[in-house]
């Protein structure tokens, strides 16, 4: 008898799981299995995450001293630019959608794969090609425009490898668009019988809303970068004021993409957390339909707030007013989500395994980041703190505190499903707590430095800000350890971890009815769905007292 039989599991299906279905390099590089492509993405973005992390480690080291001690200004400028470009386009944008989205979307809706499996693989190759451009830009000497590529600096003044970097971002944009199209088609066409729109897990809704933004906004990024390249390489007068161009035009185009891109980065994180909190609280999510409408509202209104990045650019007062108003409005659906996650804990049976710790960390950091966003929506306060460390702290709370915490939450939650292995839980809990602490140590001081007037992208700075920079750099060291730890114990679990059962957390959701790891086509029989997600207890009741084993048995009936 095998271990699985001893543990009371059903016997494994006769065919191998997706990880063992072919072991040659070619079987990975030519795969069209959404799960294997998810793994390809996971490896890719992990490499980029640590590349971007290495760049910012040098930056934080340099900022220990007000007048620099390690780097030249040019090197410093190239390092923070590289950090931003890599982290935004090669880690955050693809992070949750292209790994968990790819892996889970078909599993969650009961489909054998995504709608266009070959397009899916193609978009990974695009990502790799784009990454090659960007890494080339670094190796060849770097790019110093910041991730924002503001004109006319990027198009006329910078003597660095703007073309290669912009080309990299241009190409990775098409990977985004391809993935978005694929996910939209998958959600529309491949839902299992009975999987109605309002039975979709919130993670699917999140990925769907994200895909809409990717498809609608990313072309504008491509346009703006193409125009930069046209002016820089072909000398076409587009942003050059001396030849009738307008440098501010670039900012409008860029932020028309880049503000919605913030929601590309944070909506999937909201989806992850909306799966985890109900599971560990044994509660239905509070206000499911409000959660769905809130995400769609964020995706929609997100297209009309870009001007709040430009309150000091000289745009008209009327434009600033409209953008300020809409920026306050978009905070409403975000607030609804925070309240609903909190309310979902009420009368739960809450346990605190590592995914839950990361998820609660997300709620805390996202709330802090979201509240600091109100300051930036208020025109007079924004004018004072924009382009300072206050803004740096704000968007790191949302995109790193929020999205990266949620990424780690999802990683720990679905790790047993993805790899079939269990990781050492106490290490994972320790890393989760360390990450929360390290994050706040790094970025909380930056709110103070920013309010007191420390501009961002400063290689050297007035001495009065040193105390905040030292605190921030010390916190970054803690944070770096917290990011490296999972690499160690998760890697360890691949070889020595215990075997994971189908549904180790007793979660609802179709992905938990497949084996761990799932077979190549996900389900042996076509799943049929007859209930909503998060069916942890009867309607109108609160958390049940069933032990997880019983819950698990009920789910896999």
């Amino acid at each position: 008898m095998t271990d699985a039989l001893l543990a009371g599991e059903l016997p494994l299906p006769p065919h191998p799981d997706y990880l063992r279905d072919g072991s040659t390099v070619w079987s990975w590089l030519a795969t069209t299995d959404h799960k294997r492509i998810a793994i390809l993405y996971a490896v890719t973005i992990t490499v980029f995450f640590f590349l971007g992390g290495a760049a910012i480690t040098a930056v934080r080291l340099e900022l220990f001293e007000p007048n620099g001690w390690l780097l030249t200004s040019d090197t410093y400028n190239k390092l923070f630019s590289f950090h931003g470009i890599i982290m935004v386009w090669f880690f955050l944008v693809p992070s949750i959608p292209n790994t968990f989205g790819n892996f889970l979307l078909p599993l969650m809706i009961g489909a054998p794969d995504v709608a266009f499996p070959r397009l899916n693989l193609f978009s990974w190759y695009l990502t790799i090609a784009a990454g090659a451009f960007t890494v080339y830009a670094l190796v060849a000497g770097g790019v110093d425009t910041g991730w924002t590529f503001y004109t006319p600096y990027s198009s006329m003044f910078s003597n660095t490898h703007v073309f290669a970097a912009a080309a990299g971002v241009f190409v990775v944009g098409f990977a985004s668009i391809a993935t978005g199209v694929n996910f939209i088609a998958t959600t529309h066409m491949l839902r299992a019988p009975g999987m109605t729109w309002f039975r979709l897990p919130l993670f699917v809704w999140a990925v769907y809303a994200t895909s809409l933004i990717m498809v609608l906004a990313t072309p504008v990024l491509a346009i703006s970068l193409l125009l930069v390249i046209a002016e820089r390489v072909l000398g076409l007068p587009i942003f050059d004021p001396a030849r009738g161009g307008d440098p501010i035009l670039f900012q409008h185009l860029f932020w028309f993409y880049s503000h919605p891109a913030v929601y590309i980065m944070v909506l999937p994180a909201m989806g992850v957390v909306s799966e985890i909190i109900p599971c560990f609280a044994r509660r239905r999510i509070f206000g499911y339909d409000f959660m769905v409408y809130a995400m769609l509202a964020i995706a929609g209104i997100g297209f009309f707030v870009w001007g709040h990045h430009m309150f000091v650019s000289g745009q008209s007062a009327l434009a600033s007013l409209v953008f300020s108003f809409l920026s306050f409005i978009i905070a409403v659906p975000s607030a609804i989500k925070v309240f609903n996650w909190t309310a979902s804990l009420y009368r739960g049976q809450i346990s605190f395994e590592s995914p839950m710790l990361y998820a609660l960390g997300f709620v805390g950091l996202f709330t802090t980041g979201g509240l600091s966003g109100l300051f930036l929506a208020s025109i007079p306060v924004d004018i004072h703190v924009t382009d300072t460390y206050f803004v740096v702290a704000h968007f790191h709370y949302i995109m790193v505190g929020g999205s990266v915490s949620a990424f780690f939450a999802g990683l720990h939650f679905w790790w047993p499903k993805v790899t079939g292995k269990l990781y050492p839980e106490s290490w994972a809990k320790f890393a989760a707590i360390l990450m929360y602490a390290g994050f706040n140590m790094t970025f909380l001081p930056q709110f103070f430095a920013g309010y007191l007037g420390m501009p961002r992208r400063y290689h050297t700075y007035p001495a009065e800000f040193q105390i905040y920079n030292v605190m921030s750099s010390a916190g970054a060291a803690v944070l770096a350890v917290a990011y490296l730890l999972p690499l160690g114990y998760l890697g360890w679990s691949l070889f020595y971890g215990g075997k994971a059962a189908k549904n180790p957390w007793g979660a609802t959701g179709l992905e938990w009815t497949a084996t761990s790891p799932p077979p190549p086509k996900n389900f042996d029989r076509q799943p049929r769905v007859d209930r909503g997600p998060y069916d942890y207890h009867a309607q109108g009741m609160s958390a049940g007292t069933d032990p997880p084993e019983m819950q698990s048995a009920r789910d896999t009936r």
């Binding site: 200004s73 400028n77 924002t148 503001y150 006319p152 600096y153 003044f157 004021p241 001396a242 009738g244 307008d246 440098p247 501010i248 206000g287 409000f290 000091v312 650019s313 007062a317 007013l321 300020s324 108003f325 306050f328 409403v332 607030a335 609804i336 309240f339 909190t342 804990l345 009420y346 009368r347 049976q349 809450i350 605190f352 609660l360 709330t367 802090t368 509240l371 109100l374 300051f375 208020s378 007079p380 306060v381 004018i383 004072h384 924009t386 382009d387 007191l452 007037g453 501009p455 961002r456 992208r457 400063y458 007035p462 009065e464 800000f465 905040y468 109108g540 009741m541 609160s542 958390a543």
Partner: protein, 313 residues
């Protein structure tokens, strides 16, 4: 070194901004306490296996509850928007009595020029309790004029004039910073704002080396660059007269009407073919590359000074 823990409120505007800032701090602090408090309370009370009451959910936790907090959030945000925006609108336009100072930004320095013609680099002396209106332009990339102690900031953009105003309310020296990334030495593009009592400022101004004021400088350029060859009243060339032009509506050859402001005058010097005045041939050459931003500011100031005289035709 300035205090690392306190930022002076050195302008009238700073007080307004800080009021909004503190209200936001209070509101978001209260919200954070509420959310974090509830999460902690639920986490302890409803930890797995605790004896806290579960069972059927109370009636009050219904759809109305959710609509309630949505509306409450919406109204709070609408109030915040109204309050912050009215403060913004109130401080939009500089008072007409303001002292007008020209600022030119370039990689990587600030050049300032007082109405008397006195010039400074990386420094600006201003009188206390008197509105100061800065007219700013950039010679290369986008910079941003940032004085934390005044809570003011404005991008300085090539190809267009931006402006900003403040009224200093405390004497002293305050940092001036560039807040928009502008290349290698962005972080060295710093200066100081020195706020002096009005009589001290007058005294300081007298001690500065003689410099022509902008309009006089512009008048010299007007002749030396050959503008007067066509635009002077005595010229034979059919070119528009410039006296009384500033601020007037101008009829263009293509039917549009534009207001002759700083941007229009600047464009007309650099791209004369763009907005041709009705009734004139597009014969003027472009002065792009021949004049720097400071010279264009001087010419504009000269043309402005002509508006005080009556048109001569």
């Amino acid at each position: 070194m300035n205090s690392p823990f306190r930022l002076p409120e050195a302008s009238t505007h700073a007080v307004t901004v800080d009021h909004i800032f503190y209200l936001l701090l209070l509101l978001s602090g209260a919200t954070a306490v509420l959310v974090f408090g509830l999460i902690l309370l639920f986490a302890v009370r409803y930890r797995r296996g605790s004896s806290a009451k579960r069972g059927p959910m109370p009636e009050i936790l219904s759809r109305e509850f959710e609509i309630g907090w949505t509306v409450a959030t919406l109204l709070t945000f609408a109030f915040l928007f109204w309050w912050a925006s009215s403060a913004d609108l109130g401080s939009l336009a500089a008072p007409p009595s303001a002292l007008e100072i020209h600022v030119v930004a370039k990689q990587w320095m600030w050049k300032t020029q007082h109405p008397s013609g006195a010039r400074e680099i990386n420094a600006l002396h201003v009188p206390l309790d008197r509105p100061v209106h800065l007219l700013m332009s950039s010679q290369d990339v986008i910079h941003s004029f940032f004085v934390p102690a005044f809570r003011v900031k404005k991008d300085v953009v090539p190809g267009r004039d931006t402006d900003i105003w403040f009224q200093a309310s405390k004497s002293g020296t305050f940092p001036l910073l560039c807040a928009e990334y502008c290349g290698t030495n962005h972080s060295m593009m710093r200066g100081k704002i020195v706020v002096m009592r009005q009589d001290d400022y007058a005294g300081w101004l007298v001690q500065q080396p003689e410099g022509d004021d902008l309009a006089h400088e512009g008048a010299k350029l007007f002749v030396s660059q050959g503008c007067s060859g066509c635009h002077a009243a005595s010229s034979n060339v059919h070119a528009p007269r410039l006296a009384g032009l500033y601020g007037r509506a101008v009829q263009l050859a293509d039917g549009r009407t534009v207001s002759a402001d700083e941007a229009y005058i600047r464009d007309s010097i650099l791209q004369p073919k763009r907005d041709v005045v009705a009734g004139y041939e597009p014969v003027m050459p472009s002065f792009k590359g021949l004049l720097d931003d400071g010279e264009i500011q001087s010419l504009t100031a000269y043309i402005r000074s002509l508006s005080k005289e009556q048109p001569d035709d």
